[in-house]
Symmetry: C2
Subunit: 365 residues, 2 copies
Amino acid sequence: MKIVCTKSELLKGVNITLRAVPVRTTMTILECILIDATELDIKLTANDMELGIETTIEGDIIEKGKIAIEAKFFADIIRKLPDSEITIETDSNFNASITCEKSVFNIPARDGEDFSYLPYIEKNNMITISQFDLKELIRQTIFSIGDNESNLIMTGELFEVTEDNLKVVSLDRYRVSIRNVKLNNIYNDIKVIVPGKTLNEISKIITGDAESMVDVYFSDNHILFEFDKTIVISRLIEGEFFKINQMLSKDYETKITINKRELLDCIDRATLFVKEGNKKPVIFDIEDGSVKINITSTVGKMNEEIDIEKEGSDIKIGFNPKFVIDALRVIDDETISMTFMNAKSPCTIRDKDNRYIYLILPVNY
Amino acid sequence: MKIVCTKSELLKGVNITLRAVPVRTTMTILECILIDATELDIKLTANDMELGIETTIEGDIIEKGKIAIEAKFFADIIRKLPDSEITIETDSNFNASITCEKSVFNIPARDGEDFSYLPYIEKNNMITISQFDLKELIRQTIFSIGDNESNLIMTGELFEVTEDNLKVVSLDRYRVSIRNVKLNNIYNDIKVIVPGKTLNEISKIITGDAESMVDVYFSDNHILFEFDKTIVISRLIEGEFFKINQMLSKDYETKITINKRELLDCIDRATLFVKEGNKKPVIFDIEDGSVKINITSTVGKMNEEIDIEKEGSDIKIGFNPKFVIDALRVIDDETISMTFMNAKSPCTIRDKDNRYIYLILPVNY
């Protein structure tokens, strides 16, 4: 194989595919990037068997062929090369030489035939969404997936398409995050659970541009994202997602309207008193016109007061400050509504149009 | 004690004094910042018994007094407060309340009397140097101090004043870094060894502004830096510094002139082949008109060629690439000269005016 391409094009492709290279694995071939120049295009592929990425780069194929190169080392080399043309050439013993200006690297590589290709996916069921919307949806929900592999379904997010609505839900044992976004078309109903890791990686690859679109295809066991010159394929998580509708009642005993920035900054200060092994709740004392927020630990205490508008009864309720911060950070509204039933039931942060709903379980104080 | 000051002024002062707060210590009082408002000014002090910093901040003293507050926690609180006026008030039990807008923190503190004041230094022997020159001198030499406490003198830098010349020298077992800078006046001769840690901290505090000056005072056992509204006092390292003059012969067998950026980038690429536990030298093969640079390890090899001007004989010599990179990174000249005696003797990188001299020992290849 012999190919020629620019450093910038090669580096862009390598950085994208690196996202599917596992950090640790017993199968060393998975630590490689496949450079496939057997057809008309130069394709780079990485595949950790759960998540696979293939991207096409611009360049000239002088001699057809393919090779698998240890991904991290290859990326390090490309990064440090001058911003110029790079030639990659391999011999029959799978030694690769990488030449750029007067610099020549010789490194052992592996037969491309050893590499596992990405699974083939039927492209029947699909939606189209902007890179911006997809990236935002992930950012606004990913923080509340469970990190506990003992409950595999919690480590993923529900993607549910109903007509022209995409609903994304994540939850752990203490909170639920729900986001809804309108799609440009009416689609078939879809309901799948996408691994959190896949969503993390895809959100790092897509630009977040509102004008660029992603085609998302769904099969029984896989999801495929196609955008720019890249495809990302991931297994889905099998099983049925949690039923959350009964948690979404619009009833409440107390409703407050509060400035989001003031609340976020105040609770961020309260986290100073949360130390490992000594987790104290932040306590909301809601009265007419104001909420008193306080936290007390062995190292001291903080008191603060924020103006609010209130409907319904007074309430005193405690939270893990991190959970409140996580939700507030991904809400763009300047003013938010919070509703409460009682000191044992989750608090709900929800906008009028149901674009977002965040439920947070209180803690005892 | 009761004082009022702005968040920005307090935070600036806290960040400066934090540099003298030890990370780990058995004496918990050393983890504190002393707020001293017993006189006309508000002074913040930290002192780890080797290095002490005192800085004066703007503010109003409502009630005189002093208090010692756990430094890191105090800094975290100030950082998270709104950008507004802060009031600090203490009671007779050394409880401190920190109030900013509607936020009130109550934390236990300690009697300021428990705090060790900075030593008194006679201000006889001194020089004046710009913050820019001092910061540059440190940056350009600090990388080659020894980290080995078994040789305490190597963990410091020689500061030697002769008339209007300040020479700074650092060395470890493999290299020597020397910088000379002209002072604005003729001063008494001075020769002291300043701890590397002190220099690291001072270079983080000074702005590096060419117009702002630092007064540096020397006593038998201490060095004192005075600038803006801050003083930094450090113990000196006792003993006599290494005699390096015999290493500085201007004789050579080979001299090359080379583009610094090209050489630095090339050797930076070579570091890809240096792995922990498998340290390979980068080999310079110097001939008329060019130097061939190569490195070979178990994971592959790199070859590169750079144009040079050469005087004297051909030479083949190996280096630890890190040591060459460290020196090249702090040289601003576009073109540099390197001289060599033989493959066992240090290479010298030196400019015409003796502003800098870097010696690097070769390694076997």
